[in-house]
Symmetry: C2
Subunit: 205 residues, 2 copies
Amino acid sequence: MEIKDKSKEEIILKAAEVEFMLKGFHGAKTTSIAKEAGVTHAMLHYYYRTKENLFNKVFETKVSLISDIIVRSFANSHMPLLERVKLTIESHFNFLVENQELPRFLINELISQPERRKIFENKIEDVIGIVIPALQKELDDEVLKGNIRAIKAFDLILDIVSLNVFVFVVFPIITSFDSLSGNTSDFFENRKQENVELIMRRLKK
Amino acid sequence: MEIKDKSKEEIILKAAEVEFMLKGFHGAKTTSIAKEAGVTHAMLHYYYRTKENLFNKVFETKVSLISDIIVRSFANSHMPLLERVKLTIESHFNFLVENQELPRFLINELISQPERRKIFENKIEDVIGIVIPALQKELDDEVLKGNIRAIKAFDLILDIVSLNVFVFVVFPIITSFDSLSGNTSDFFENRKQENVELIMRRLKK
DNA sequence: TTTCGTATTAACAATATTGTTAATCATTAC
DNA sequence: GTAATGATTAACAATATTGTTAATACGAAA
C-alpha cells in the first residue's frame, strides 16, 4: 500500500539476484530464493517457470552491465591521454564500488558453466574489437610523441582491471581478519589512489 | 598392474579435486565425480562416507598450499629488498602457473560458504601476522635510507597478488575470444614481466 | 583351506530440489 | 451481481542427489 509497493514478480527477481550473485547458479536454491522473497515457491515458478529462466534474467542483466562499463570507461574524449587514463581507472573503480560482487559472479558462472559463454561473448566481442584497437592507436601515437612508455593496449587494460577488480573480490575475506579490518571507505579510497599511482608510473617516462 | 597403479581411493580423490576446483562444492556432484573416476558411486561413499568429507579433504589441501606459498614467497633472505621483491613476484607468479584454478576456487568457497572461513583463517592468520609486520619494517627502513618510495606492506602485497592472480582467473575466458588468443606461454611470460615492471616502478624513486 | 577383513557391486532408501496442478481468492470489466 | 482474469496457496509429483545396505568377491594370514 505504501509508495514502495513492488510487485511480487520484482521482489522475487531481486531476491534471486542476491542469492545467485552470492552463491552462483548451483549454490542458489529456488526454495531459498522464494523464502527470502517472502513468497511460496509456487509463486516463483508461476512467474518464472524454471530456475534456469530466472537465472538467465539475472545473468543477462549483469552481462549488460559489464558491456556498458567497458564502453563508458573507455569512451573517447578530447582530454590528453594520461588524464583520461586516470579518469578511466577512477570511474571503473567507482563502478566496482557499486557492483562489488559482479566480477566474481560472472567469472564463476562463465568458468564453471562454459555453456553460458556464448551470450557473454556476443555482448562483449564488438566492444573489445573496437575499444582495444582504438586505444592501441592512441597509445602508439603518444609513444611516438615521446610522451609515454610503450605498452600493449591489452596489457594496460588488464593491469587496470586486475588492480581494480581484485580488491573487491577479496574484500569480504580480508575483512574477516581483525588485524586487517579498518574503515571501509578509507580503504577503498586508498586503493583507488594506489591503483592510479601504479598505472601512471607505468606509463610516464 | 603398471607402475602407475593408484588405489581407487586416490583416484576418487583426484577426480573430486578436479570437479570441485572447476565447479565448486555445490556445482560438483558425487555421481559425476564417481563416473569421472571410473568407479561406482557406492565406492565413493565407502571411502569418504559423505560429500562434505571428500570436499574437506580437497579444501584443506588447497588451503595449505596457499599458506605455504605465502611463507615461501615472502621468506627472508639477505638479498637487497628490491631484488627480493622482484624474485617474490616471479616465484608467486610461477606458483600460479602450476596452480591456476586455486585462487578462484578458494575465494569462491570462502565467499559463498562463510562457514568454511574458520579453517582458512586459522591456517593463514599467523602467517600474515608475521609476514606483514616484518615486511613493513623492511620497507620503512628502505624508505628512511632514501632507496624506495613509501608504501604500506599490505598495499604492496595486494598489488602483487592482484596483478598476478587476476590473469589466471580470467585466462580461460580471455582465450575464448579468438581476437585475444595467442601463444599461451608467451602470454604468461609477458604478463610476468609486466607485473614486475609495474611494481618496480611503483617502488623506485 | 578356512577364516577374516577389505573391496566391490547392485539395489534400495532418504532426502533435497525443482516443477505442476487444481482449487481458491481477489480484482476488474461487463 | 457475475463472469473473466490473473494471483495465490497447499498439496502433490517427478527427478536429482546423496547416502545405506546386504550380498558377494577377493586376497592374505592362520
